[in-house]
Symmetry: C2
Subunit: 458 residues, 2 copies
């Protein structure tokens, strides 16, 4: 037998390129059936959302898997069906439907397969008294509750953000890399690392691809990665996941951390544009407004943020001299940036060295500070980044100062011993930026199958 | 401070858009320096490969990190430098260089940073007596040996294959998903699964996203994933990795497994086209010829393959009646397909049920066989795929027949209980297809940081 590869696409009219009056064949899952005196409605669920099909008792026909004719009330939710019919303009433009300008007048419905039980999870009825109960139910039955159009929309936006990230960076000379998640050394230190046995040896799940993306800069100048990262954090909050997707960037030959921040701003601009273009339906369904990112993005030193907020009386307390941002400051500086500069984003730079990872480059003008930054969006930190140390001697000095043993980092230090350009980078948590874009309170809703201290299934 | 995001790109002439006579500024790592009587050559390494810069004693000047003038012999390999000069046509078009039609007449070289030791790994001298010693050296020092243009080229092609995979599927209505690698149940069964402790619970590293991508079909109709997969295989061969990147596809509303195979053929066609277009330099450097994929791709049943090879006397032995392909058959049928149909690819279908995963759909015409396939390329299996069971009852029956306990698969079975369309899919090992494309013998060379039973670092 010979397979013709040009046959992989349907030819002719499809539901995605049809006009009123066209005959179409469209497959999907029955999301709902409503019976009326004169016929009824079948709400069909497709990959992007809902389509309304209109049944007329006199002209519409229904067939089961064996080709036997059945009645409309023989159809039920979560049947896989193929509908043939004529495209018409939608009487009511329902924003909840993806296909909200057209509807299909049904000629035939053919059942392809059906649920085992008529008691399928009712995606339309996913409303509970309190949010915690709703979320627990959703996550416990994620294999089916993902079929809820709202959840479909959230993860469609997530997927679009990741694709836009990859496309922008590829266009700008970055190489996408794939680095191991089974590692012999944790990059970020601390206790929150998952351990496992690897043929009798203790290894770890990577907390980040930090070491590997820096190595990548010595090879490809500019690299990025989209991959899972692991944090064995025991606190179960709405802002944390134990397994999340990290969008990592690292670039060489920078003049300073400003180059990294400028790239990130341009990248975010491209992501926002793509989401607006490709996810208009999802944004409408979720009643979400994408963040504002002007051409000029504010970037202030931590000490300047303290000062701005104090001078303008924007915080309850005086935080000047503190070595981190207080939560009220995160909110206040974002509000200020939006009002004064039309920006939902604020870079905060020059965090104290003792609070940043060992690989952060100290500021030559004040070595107690680092050339590192956080990016705040709508009051929440979505990125950490900065310029990295690129000299072996500077790494050794900082490691010793922190009580780290350089011998445990042989391959990492060998990278710098063999020469490395000035470089820097950042990481964005995919679930967190998705939540921020969409105004979702719990980051777990932006993970297809969230992992937390209590949950490893489904 | 305000960052202008439009400044993320260099304006004006760059090394990638210049013409003879242009002044350019170009940064990179010094790959090699050759001193002559009249000056010399600096071979600069950029993200895609090498560029030749020509030094004239009378006109070229060199400066160290502090801006002090130095001599040409003050430069060494693996220094990060910025070169200013004038673009000229290359005297010799060296296929080993990415920039092989131009060269740069050096005005100045400024050192940005330097290796700690002059004894940096000599990427040009990576030649050993036997391949095993060379590979061990390469992998032991991967953080630096990746800078070898040949290794850079392999992984650039790998990255391009993955990007082409994502782009083609996105254009064809597939949604990219991100599923967990920490799982409570292994999808593929067997002993080769890594176990780990997750807050006191035993969990596994995912062998494949099989369950999750099938769930994804109930949500988005068509899904794909690019992510690591884990196999705790103890054999250390040139064809296996313990951590690899799996390119996974799953599509709903199929009429049969032919739809899946046709899609895969079209996908491979798109990948090959992209590699030819975007990686011409890498293919030339590696002396590689991409595989031939005609519009009509051969697809034979396992029993037909036995028969074809027997009738045409293409194998030493008579394999008719055997329940798998013998290695000599894999090679022989690929040779036959290339000679008769101009195809480096052959689909082999209808493998016996007992050799395929439990989720494979049995052939209604002969339930001892499955509607499943392998895709062979140049004598090697690069894909397994097929149509999946989509009815809960069929899963339960097959599980019980195999001594599996359906209760251990609650969330998976619940997916089918709640209705699923007919569907199927496949998975491609990224490192393996890269090796096949490029004629690389050891799949580990196609992994940035390979993991095998003896190796978890770098």
């Amino acid at each position: 037998m010979l397979l013709d590869l040009t046959q992989h696409k349907p030819s002719g009219v499809t539901i995605d390129n049809c006009q009123a009056g066209d005959m179409v064949t469209v497959s999907g899952m029955i999301h709902n059936v409503r019976v009326t005196k004169w016929g009824g409605f079948i709400i069909l669920r497709k990959s992007r959302g809902l389509l309304q099909a209109v049944v007329q008792n006199e002209t519409s026909k229904f067939f089961d898997e064996s080709g036997n004719e059945i009645a409309l009330n023989g159809l039920c939710r979560e049947m896989a069906v193929t509908i043939e019919g004529t495209v018409g303009e939608a009487k009511i433009k329902d924003p909840a439907a993806f296909y909200n300008t057209i509807e299909v007048a049904v000629s035939t419905v053919r059942v392809l397969s059906r649920p085992t039980t008529p008691e399928v999870v009712d995606m339309n009825a996913l409303k509970f008294g309190d949010e915690e109960t709703l979320l627990r139910y959703k996550f416990d039955n994620r294999q089916v509750t993902l079929r809820n159009p709202r959840d479909m929309a959230i993860l469609k936006v997530q997927s679009t953000i990741a694709k836009a990230f990859a496309d922008f960076l590829t266009e700008n000379g970055f190489t996408q890399i794939y680095t191991p998640k089974i590692v012999s050394e944790g990059a970020e230190g601390g206790a929150n690392v998952f351990k496992m046995d690897y043929f009798g040896k203790q290894v770890y799940l990577a907390q980040s691809p930090q070491f590997y993306k820096q190595i990548g800069v010595g090879v490809y100048e500019r690299v990025f990665e989209i991959a899972p990262a692991y944090r064995a954090e025991k606190h179960n909050t709405s802002r944390h996941l134990n397994e999340y997707i990290s969008l990592d960037v690292e670039m060489g030959f920078i003049k300073g951390q400003e180059d990294v921040m400028t790239l990130e701003a341009a990248l975010l601009h491209a992501i926002i544009s793509r989401v607006v273009t490709d996810c208009a339906h999802e944004l409408a369904l979720l009643n979400a407004t994408v963040p504002q990112l002007p051409q000029q993005v504010p970037a202030w030193k931590l000490s300047e943020v303290h000062e701005i907020l104090f001078e303008n009386h924007l915080c309850e307390e005086d935080h000047r001299g503190e070595d981190d941002l207080a939560p009220e400051e995160e909110r206040a500086i974002c509000k200020y940036a939006l009002e004064q500069f039309g920006s939902d984003f604020v870079f905060v730079t020059h965090f104290p060295s003792q609070h940043r990872a060992f690989y952060a480059m100290d500021d030559p003008e004040d070595p107690s500070l680092t050339l590192s930054f956080d990016l705040l969006m709508r009051g929440l930190e979505i990125t950490s980044g900065g310029q990295r140390i690129h000299k072996e001697a500077d790494y050794r000095e900082k490691m010793l100062k922190r009580g780290m043993n350089p011998d445990n980092f042989r391959f990492y230090l060998d990278t710098f011993k063999n020469g490395m350009p000035p470089h820097g980078g950042f990481a964005i948590g995919l679930e967190r930026i998705t939540a921020c874009f969409l105004g979702i309170n719990n980051v777990k809703e932006c993970s297809m199958f969230p992992r937390d201290i209590n949950r490893v299934a489904p």
